[in-house]
């Protein structure tokens, strides 16, 4: 059975597939990733593509108003823009944690439709320099109806500033930028949709 056929066999709209799931998908992000520089230059990177995986916790909690919620983790290898040369990687010293929360009250069976948010800590490589963020780049999607949320619009909340790694004595592990001045900022203010280019499910091996 091919990966595509197996993917088609899974009902991605079934909320019960979410707890404890692992989905490795190739994502093609389209839309605006915009970089801002100190001198006023802006750089549009609208051809960013890359690999991403989403893992979800198998523990489903409940919010104060009775909605099901669980922790999700996004794993990125790299995203790349051919046109601008921008390379985006996950900062390996910090997890990209997020949360998926069902819109309706109930148990795991109401995990969809849901609101999803991810806090992303990244390393940007551009023009020979490396940049990291200490505030999370928050990506949000409202009312997703399938999982993983392929084809869903994710928006970043405002913009996020990045520091030149050379300005941070603690390197990629530094949490507080101290007196360092941000060197660029990244915002994704328009559609950041994605589509599934391939899907590999990871069956649990017994014994």
């Amino acid at each position: 059975m091919s990966a595509d056929a197996r993917s088609a066999a899974i009902d991605h709209a079934d909320p019960l597939i979410i707890p404890g799931s692992t989905h490795h998908v190739g994502l093609a992000i389209r839309g605006e990733l915009k970089l801002y520089f100190a001198d006023g230059e802006t750089l549009d990177c609208d051809d960013v593509q890359g690999m991403s995986a989403v893992r979800s916790s198998d523990e489903v909690g409940t919010t104060a108003d009775g909605r099901p919620t669980l922790v999700v983790t996004r794993l990125m290898t790299h995203f790349h823009s051919n046109v601008t040369g921008l390379l985006i990687q996950q900062n390996p010293s910090r997890p990209n944690l997020g949360r998926l929360t069902g819109i309706a009250p109930g148990g795991p069976e109401t995990l969809l439709p849901a609101d999803v948010t991810f806090d992303q800590y990244l390393i940007l490589a551009l023009r020979g320099r490396l940049y990291v963020n200490t505030d999370p780049l928050v990506m949000e999607a409202a009312g997703i109806t399938t999982f993983p949320p392929v084809g869903t619009t994710f928006l970043s909340k405002g913009a996020t500033v990045f520091y030149d790694l050379a300005d941070l004595p603690g390197g990629i592990t530094q949490r507080d930028p101290g007196d360092a001045v941000p060197r660029l900022a990244l915002a994704s203010q328009s559609v950041c949709g994605s589509h599934l280019t391939h899907h590999i499910d990871m069956p649990v091996m017994d014994g």
């Binding site: 801002y36 505030d135 405002g158 913009a159 500033v161 001045v181 941000p182």
Partner: protein, 423 residues
């Protein structure tokens, strides 16, 4: 300031008149049964009567009333709105009188008569032409006005200090407020200072293609005469199909001032902001401008950055880093919690949906409630936005103000300039 004994009788007469008009205004406010029955807020009634008093007390009070109308951090918004109706409705200085005020080397190079184009309580503006053909705008300070205003300001400050001793007003920073308003007013009388401010704004905004600040002809300027290039069409500005475009250009210019340069025109009311028919905007009258310190500029940019991310706690930390110490019993934890709630509740990213005055009033109230005093470095940027809020709401209510601000906020965060203490 020491008073010349020879002026004492005139000062006493003037003080008596000021006192009588203010008492009459107060009596009219508290006895306005019709207004109270109609549900007009007491602060609005008081503001309305205060405006009435200012009109009767002359240019210093009109200007102070205008300045006070922008200070929602110290006066109730309803009173500020009432005071905002104060405008200078005065006839221009006669042309021969204005012509006599011109420096000789300018008068010798003016071709033909001056034509009045605007008149205010403090100064009048005339259109003229130089012998070389250049058209100029000449702003002439009314003769004797500086002395009159200095006298009224001295009385104003004395009055504020006396009021501060009354039960119920003890501890209120009336003298500080009077000092700030007086300082702003005196700055508007110094046309050489305004010439420098216009020059700085023009240089700072040179890359904003849709924004125009008239050039100054420095060689002809004096403390009481300001000579600028003449911009035709200002008298009939404000109309045209590209009005919205022009006002958005003005908003971007203000964001540039606030976040990137830190040199801010604090008085961009409709009379100083001229949307032109071609979608450009002309900014004039930079007499009330402020240079933020570099740390103040960056703090304001950081506050806005945290706002755009919906991070109330982050906003609280920025404000706490700028407040002028706390009085005894200040409560940083309570301040953080209230700020978090304020930022969460601040709905609407479009200009028409976000009530800046209400947000600012609550912000300043939260500071006071928890025992903190706002740093003027943080107050003036907010006030400068409030002054132009009416124009923005009317011309471009659907514009996303945070989206427009973002490029300037980010540049401001990424820029570290010289630390300046120049006021």
């Amino acid at each position: 300031m020491r008073t010349d004994p020879r002026e004492a009788p005139a000062l006493i007469v003037r003080a008596a008149r000021i006192g009588a008009v203010l008492v009459l205004a107060l009596l009219r406010a508290v006895t306005d049964v019709r207004g109270l029955v109609a549900g007009v807020p007491p602060a609005a009634l008081l503001g309305d009567r205060l405006a009435w008093a200012c009109e009767r007390l002359g240019p210093a009070f009109i200007k102070i009333g205008q300045l006070l109308s922008t200070r929602v951090d110290i006066a109730p918004p309803a009173a500020c709105r009432a005071l905002a109706r104060l405008r200078d409705h005065v006839p221009p200085l006669a042309v021969p009188v204005a012509a006599r005020a011109l420096p000789a080397h300018l008068a010798a190079r003016v071709s033909g008569p001056l034509t009045p184009v605007a008149a205010g309580a403090v100064a009048c503006v005339y259109h003229g032409r130089l012998l070389d053909g250049r058209e100029i705008a000449v702003k002439v300070r009314r003769p004797g006005i500086a002395r009159l205003i200095a006298r009224d300001l001295a009385l104003f400050r004395h009055g504020a200090r006396l009021l501060q001793r009354l039960p119920g007003l003890r501890g209120a920073p009336l003298a500080d407020v009077a000092g700030q308003l007086g300082e702003a007013l005196l700055a508007q009388l110094d046309f050489l200072g305004e010439a420098r401010a216009l020059g700085r704004l023009r240089a700072n905004l040179r890359d904003q293609a849709a924004v125009r600040v008239p050039g100054v002809l420095e060689e002809f300027c004096r403390p009481d005469v300001l000579v600028m290039e003449y911009v035709p069409g200002l008298e009939s500005s404000g109309r045209g199909p590209d009005r919205k475009e022009a006002v958005v250009a003005a908003l971007r210019a203000v964001y540039h001032m606030l976040f990137v340069d830190g040199f801010v025109h604090c008085d961009l009311h409709p009379g100083n902001l001229h949307p032109m028919p071609d979608g450009s905007v002309v900014i004039v009258d930079a007499g009330f401008s402020r240079q933020l310190t570099d740390s103040g500029r960056r703090a304001f940019a950081a506050f806005f950055y945290r706002m755009t991310r919906g991070e109330g706690a982050g906003c609280a930390e920025v404000v706490l880093s700028t407040v002028l110490g706390g009085r005894d019993g200040h409560d940083a934890r309570g301040f953080r919690a209230d700020m978090d709630e304020l930022v969460r509740a601040a709905g609407g990213s479009r200009i028409g949906e976000f009530d800046l005055v209400s947000f600012a009033v609550r912000l300043f109230a939260i500071q006071r409630r928890h025992g903190f005093y706002a740093d003027p470095q943080f107050v003036f940027p907010i006030l400068s936005l409030i002054v132009m809020e009416g124009t923005l709401r009317e011309a471009c209510p659907d514009v996303e103000f945070q989206t427009e601000a973002l490029p300037f906020v980010l540049r401001g965060l990424m820029r570290r300039g010289e630390e300046s203490t120049d006021p």
